[in-house]
């Protein structure tokens, strides 16, 4: 599970603990064994999980993925949708915006604090220069930053109890998502190739040969960085 997702789960659990009567539902799309990642969220304290697992969804880009996730979320009709800011693999930080767009809901990203009251969310949004305080009516989509909280880790009872919580694995068909909307057929982008970034020609490697510190210092002096 992405670290950012655990921040989102933690934020949801804190809201539930404060509000009482509500439910935290985990939603994901992936292969069958992705349920193991969701189980960690259940062990943290979420109430149930829904995983969309379908060979027809394999290879989905952001267009296909948002088609599927929006279908699940339309079915669930949550008051609040929380995302981690970005995934640990591709660091895209766009999925929440695309899902919000599909659902035609307000979206706030980079949330470092979150309060709910009187049918609206109040979010402190971290920027390069400080904070914005933004309000949005519910339902809305919020992507939380890793600074919003320190995620709890699952207790033994949580781990043991997670198995007994509802864990649904659903197909595209059950969601009413057509084959042309997901997977490679539902995608609008194609990855042609992946390459390492080009090497920087001007880099120097200074190895620890006993005089490395002096050479680093000389280099910094030369660049007037000391």
């Amino acid at each position: 599970m992405n670290q950012g997702d655990t921040n989102a789960i933690e934020a949801a659990l804190r809201l539930k603990e404060a509000a009482g009567d509500c439910e935290v539902v985990l939603v994901s799309m992936g292969p069958d064994d992705a349920i193991n990642s969701l189980r960690k969220g259940l062990a943290m304290g979420a109430d149930r999980a829904t995983l969309v697992s379908d060979t027809g969804a394999a290879g989905s880009d952001i267009v296909g993925t948002t088609n599927v996730l929006a279908a699940v979320l339309t079915h669930e009709t949550p008051d609040l949708i929380l995302f981690g800011q970005q995934s640990a693999d591709s660091d895209g930080a766009v999925l929440w915006a695309a899902v919000a767009d599909r659902l035609r809901q307000p979206v706030i990203s980079q949330a470092t604090s979150l309060d709910l009251s009187e049918g609206k969310a109040t979010v402190k949004r971290q920027t390069e220069y400080g904070y914005d305080v933004i309000e949005a009516p519910l339902p809305c989509v919020i992507a939380v930053s890793d600074g919003i909280n320190e995620p709890r880790y699952p207790s033994l009872k949580g781990i043991m109890g997670a198995k007994k919580k509802p864990q649904a694995i659903v197909t595209l068909e059950s969601l009413g998502v057509g084959a042309e909307q997901a997977g490679t057929a539902g995608s609008r982008t194609e990855v042609k190739s992946l390459n390492d970034p080009p090497a920087r020609g001007d880099s120097q490697l200074i190895e620890g040969d006993g005089e490395a510190a002096a050479r680093v210092l000389a280099f910094l002096n030369e660049k007037k960085l000391t």
Partner: protein
């Protein structure tokens, strides 16, 4: 024969590892030489890991001994030290198996919730050592209970425990049919005894940070409701708990061994001398591989002992052999790791020397490996008693 590791164990392992990651080497180094890892034990307690063996009806998760041993293994494999708290997991077993319903209902839910710490086990005495039937501490009947008089030594975690399980002689040795009779097990409220001035606890400085003590008992009053089971049968009750303890200790050794092997293999592959990684030399590589092989063999015996225990089958030999193999293998791995690191192994910041000191204990406690050999020789192989 199915060697598949149940998924549940992987989840437990991951959960323990996640907690332990918050207590890195720096944390343990700062505790040296003798500060108790309160924060670590509190985290384990709050998240329920130490109540693993308490049945669900008393508020625990009711895990198997295999699962409980995985918790201990993973603590040590992550670089932490379960010696600070392992007894909280298994000492309550004596109450669970032999205590009255009233005792179980009174104590186990509080132990499961972490409200009561029962992690002191007063058996060994200065003049008795492993010869438990020769203990001199006595419990004399008085109005409403017993008065305990005597001395215990190597009672670990006594300063960090609310209750102590204590063995005392209730019938003099010369008045019993067998010397194993006439001993009784009591639950001692340590806080109360300390406040009443009848108990003194003195820490003993040791090779490693282990919070062990000697305890002086001067007419400590224990009410009748804190006698466990029948008077005079306490020795059997204590022995009954040994198999579970042996399996858990074996797992701790395996955890230590895993830590040493991982650390040694990584360093042997990274550290370059004479223009190549030192692990390319058989003199470095083979001791690590040998130690790994020994750890794996010990691990098989640990799982076998745990399986027998869970089936309710006799497992004394296997549990003891698992502890023996684990302690020998972790010590072998410790030496391979220290040798691999050369001078750096002696530097505190590598944690090798700390783990080295910690794992040495397992060859001596809670039972000496030589006594296990004596047990195997006499009770498994039928040879004459050797001690």
């Amino acid at each position: 024969m199915d060697f598949t590791i149940p998924e549940e164990l992987d989840e437990i392992r991951a959960g323990v590892r996640e907690l332990c990651d918050r207590f890195p080497g720096e944390y343990w180094r700062e505790l040296e030489p003798d500060r108790y890892p309160e924060e670590f034990v509190k985290a384990l307690t709050n998240d329920g890991w130490l109540s693993a063996l308490i049945p669900e009806e008393y508020g625990g998760p009711g895990l198997t001994i295999t699962a409980a041993s995985v918790i201990m293994e993973e603590i040590n494999a992550s670089g932490c030290n379960s010696g600070a708290c392992h007894a909280q997991m298994y000492t309550m077993g004596t109450i669970l198996r032999h205590g009255s319903d009233e005792q179980k209902e009174r104590l186990l839910p509080k132990i499961a919730a972490g409200e009561l710490r029962l992690q002191a086990f007063g058996v060994t005495e200065p003049t008795a050592g492993s010869d438990t039937t020769q203990i001199q501490t006595t419990a004399t009947p008085t109005d409403g209970g017993y008065l305990i008089q005597g001395q215990k030594i190597w009672t670990s975690r006594a300063l960090h425990s609310d209750l102590m399980l204590l063995l005392a002689r209730t019938t003099p040795a010369d008045q019993v049919e067998k010397k194993t009779l006439g001993l009784s097990t009591f639950i001692v409220d340590m806080k109360q005894a300390l406040e009443a001035g009848n108990m003194t606890i003195r820490p003993i400085k040791t090779l490693m940070n282990h919070a062990t003590t000697e305890i002086f008992l001067d007419d400590v009053f224990v009410p009748t409701e804190n006698l466990v089971g029948d008077e005079g049968k306490g020795f059997r009750y204590i022995l009954d708990g040994m198999n579970a303890e042996r399996v858990l200790i074996a797992a701790e050794c395996i955890g230590d061994g895993t830590w040493f092997i991982d650390k040694a293999a990584a360093y042997a592959s990274e550290r370059e001398v004479f223009g190549r990684p030192i692990g390319a030399n058989q003199g470095i590589q083979f001791p690590i591989a040998e130690a790994h092989t020994a750890i794996e063999a010990a691990n098989l015996m640990r799982y076998k002992a745990a399986w027998l225990f869970e089936q309710g089958l006799p497992c004394g030999a296997e549990a003891n052999m698992a502890k023996y193999l684990g302690a020998e293998a972790s010590w072998q791995a410790a030496n391979a790791c220290l040798d691999t690191h050369g001078g750096f192994g002696f530097a505190e910041e590598y944690d090798v020397e700390r783990k080295f000191r910690e794992t040495r204990l397992y060859k001596v406690a809670p039972v000496s490996n030589n006594l296990i050999l004596a047990y195997v020789g006499q009770h498994v192989l039928g040879m004459p008693r050797s001690y």
